[in-house]
Symmetry: C2
Subunit: 124 residues, 2 copies
DNA sequence: TTTATTGTATTAAGTGATTAGTACAGTAAA
DNA sequence: TTTACTGTACTAATCACTTAATACAATAAA
């Protein structure tokens, strides 16, 4: 999947979200070795320093760990990945419901719109 | 409503989104006079320059217009406000569905979760 | 007329994100 | 041993956003 980084928000944050998504999706499996910092930076067309910052942050979160000279690896703790998925989904849902409520959409109205919108998406 | 500005994204963008929401909500009605730049800046505890930037941008969008010395007024074009509401909602919906799809949630799964989550919200 | 308020413009300073470039220590492979 | 690759650290420069501090012209109100 392409990185799709823009200048609206800090790039290192977008990188974190991108990698979190790929971990949840299983693009990177538990325990799997990641490409090197320089390799990832090249893929994302980003400065190695920026990629390093994102990876360090994810390491701090416990999502990966580095072996100093051998490389960097995804956590082997599958429950942590499941938890991550639920947290990401929960955040999306609560933000979405809150925002739609603010825009003035009631619960039933919202479900109707969503059903309709989801049918549209299926036609593609 | 409080402004709830953070440093994650440019403040002037957050101000724009906040005011767009208040216009859609009818906090500011079509044709209504807005507080002065300095007054709004004080309310949001933000520099007047930053507020000015946000307001100029919304003026460029056609959502408001300034009368040079008398003050600044919301557009009287109600259809523009309706359109704004639909655009904001449409953006929220498509972003949400896309993100949940990426996280691996199917359509039916999503509707079930939403129904459950909406019931939780009603209990409060 | 005088006063206060309006939107607007300008300059300077500070901050955080990003890039560029370089460097170092540890290790696996040749 | 030598070579290449690993994560990591550091400095400098640039850019956008924000704040601060003024300033000015136009107008409504006193």
């Amino acid at each position: 999947m392409s990185w799709n980084l823009n200048s609206d928000r800090p790039i290192f944050q977008q990188i974190i979200e991108h990698l979190e998504l790929e971990i949840v999706q299983g693009v990177y499996e538990p325990g799997q070795k990641l490409p090197s910092v320089r390799e990832l930076a090249a893929q994302a067309t980003v400065n190695p320093n920026t990629m390093q910052r994102a990876l360090s942050e994810m390491e701090r979160m416990g999502l990966m760990h580095s072996e100093r000279t051998s490389g960097r690896y995804i956590t082997e703790d599958e429950s942590m990945i499941k938890t991550l998925k639920k947290e990401l989904a929960g955040g999306e849902i609560s933000r979405f419901l809150e925002q739609m409520r603010r825009l003035g959409y009631s619960g039933e109205e919202l479900l109707d719109i969503l059903k309709e919108e989801m049918c549209k998406g299926e036609e593609k």
